[in-house]
C-alpha cells in the first residue's frame, strides 16, 4: 500500500513537472508569434544547432551554450569557476524548466554572455524543445 502511495506521489510530481514545461512553451509560443507572424513552431533540431553553435565573443574567445553545459546535455557541465552544473536534459534532470523565473533569469544572463544580445522567444522555445527531446 505504501508503495502505491509513493508511486502515485512520484507519478503526479512528474506530471506536474511536465505540465510546467508545457505551460512555459505555450508562453514562448505566444511571444514568438508576436515576434514573427510567420512563426510555425519550435523544432528540436534547430535547438540542437543553437545549443552547439560556437560564436566568437568580443573578448576573443569562442563560446557556445555547450561551453558550460557540455556537448552532451545528459551529462553535468561546469562553470568557469569550476562548479558542477547539473545536467540540462529534462529526462535526466526533471527540475529543469520547472521554475519560470529561474529559466528567464538564466536565459537573460547566458544569452548576453554567449550571444551578446537577448535570445528571441523562437530560440528559447527551440532550446527547450531540444532538451525535452533527449531521452
Amino acid at each position: 500500500m505504501r508503495n502505491a502511495y509513493l508511486f502515485l506521489a512520484l507519478f503526479f510530481s512528474q506530471q506536474a513537472m511536465a505540465e510546467s514545461v508545457n505551460t512555459l512553451l505555450k508562453k514562448y509560443e505566444l511571444l514568438a508569434k508576436q515576434e514573427n507572424a510567420a512563426f510555425v513552431g519550435f523544432a528540436a533540431d534547430k535547438g540542437e544547432r543553437f545549443f552547439h553553435a560556437e560564436r566568437l565573443h568580443s573578448d576573443g574567445k569562442n563560446v557556445s551554450c555547450a561551453t558550460c553545459h557540455t556537448a552532451d546535455p545528459r551529462k553535468p557541465g561546469k562553470t568557469r569557476a569550476n562548479k558542477v552544473i547539473e545536467a540540462m536534459a529534462i529526462s535526466v534532470n526533471p527540475q529543469r524548466f520547472s521554475d519560470e523565473a529561474k529559466v528567464e533569469k538564466w536565459f537573460g544572463r547566458n544569452c548576453k554572455d554567449v550571444l551578446e544580445r537577448a535570445c528571441t522567444a523562437q530560440e528559447k522555445g527551440d532550446f527547450i524543445a531540444y532538451l525535452l527531446s533527449i531521452k
Binding site: N3, T79, A81, N82, K83, K105, G108, R109, D113
Partner: protein, 171 residues
C-alpha cells in the same frame, strides 16, 4: 527489496540530517571561526556559478561595489532583479568583515589598505600571505581551477571554516 531500499534512503537521510545538526554551529575555536550566517536569497543566487563566499571574507565597501556591478561580474553577467539584489547587498553588508568580530575577518580587514576596495578575497594581502607556499600551477589543476575555488582545498569553506584540520589539496 524495494522496501529495503526505501528504508535505507530514510536512514541515510536521518543520519545525514543529524550529522548536519551536530556540526551546525562552528568548530572548536569559536572566536577564530566566522559565525554561521544565513539568507535564503544569498544562498541560491550566489552559489550558482561558484561556492558560497562567507560575507565575513570582505569588507562592506567591497560587497557594496560588487553588488553595484553584477552585470559585469568577473567577465560574466550575474545580474539580479532589484529586490533580490538589495536584500543580498544588505545581508552582505551587515555580516561583512568590518562588521564582524572574529580573528579571521579582523585579519582580512587589517590587510586591506583603507584606500583599496578589492573585489577578490584571493587578491587580499591576507590571502596571499597565507598561500605563498602554494605554486600557481597547483591552483590551475583541473580539480581546482583557480585560487577563487577555496572549497576545493578547504572542505568547510562555505561555512567560513578555514582551519588547518579541514584542508586537503586535491591532485
Amino acid at each position: 527489496m524495494k522496501k529495503w531500499l526505501q528504508f535505507l534512503v530514510l536512514i541515510t537521510s536521518i543520519s545525514a540530517t543529524s550529522a548536519l545538526l551536530a556540526s551546525g554551529g562552528f568548530s572548536d575555536n569559536s572566536q577564530q571561526a566566522m559565525p554561521a550566517v544565513a539568507n535564503a536569497k544569498w544562498k541560491t543566487e550566489c552559489s550558482g556559478c561558484h561556492m558560497l563566499y562567507h560575507p565575513g571574507l570582505l569588507p562592506e565597501r567591497s560587497w557594496h561595489k560588487m553588488m553595484a556591478g553584477l552585470d559585469k561580474h568577473f567577465g560574466e553577467n550575474a545580474s539580479l532583479d532589484d529586490a533580490s539584489r538589495d536584500e543580498i547587498a544588505r545581508f552582505l553588508a551587515l555580516n561583512s568583515a568590518d562588521k564582524q568580530d572574529n580573528r579571521r575577518s579582523n585579519r582580512i580587514n587589517q590587510s586591506i589598505p583603507a584606500a583599496a576596495t578589492p573585489l577578490r578575497i584571493s587578491e587580499t594581502r591576507y590571502f596571499t600571505s597565507k598561500h605563498d607556499e602554494i605554486a600557481a600551477s597547483t591552483f590551475k589543476r583541473k580539480s581546482i581551477g583557480s585560487a577563487a575555488n577555496c572549497v576545493a582545498c578547504h572542505q568547510a569553506a562555505e561555512k567560513g571554516d578555514f582551519s588547518e584540520s579541514q584542508i586537503r589539496i586535491p591532485r
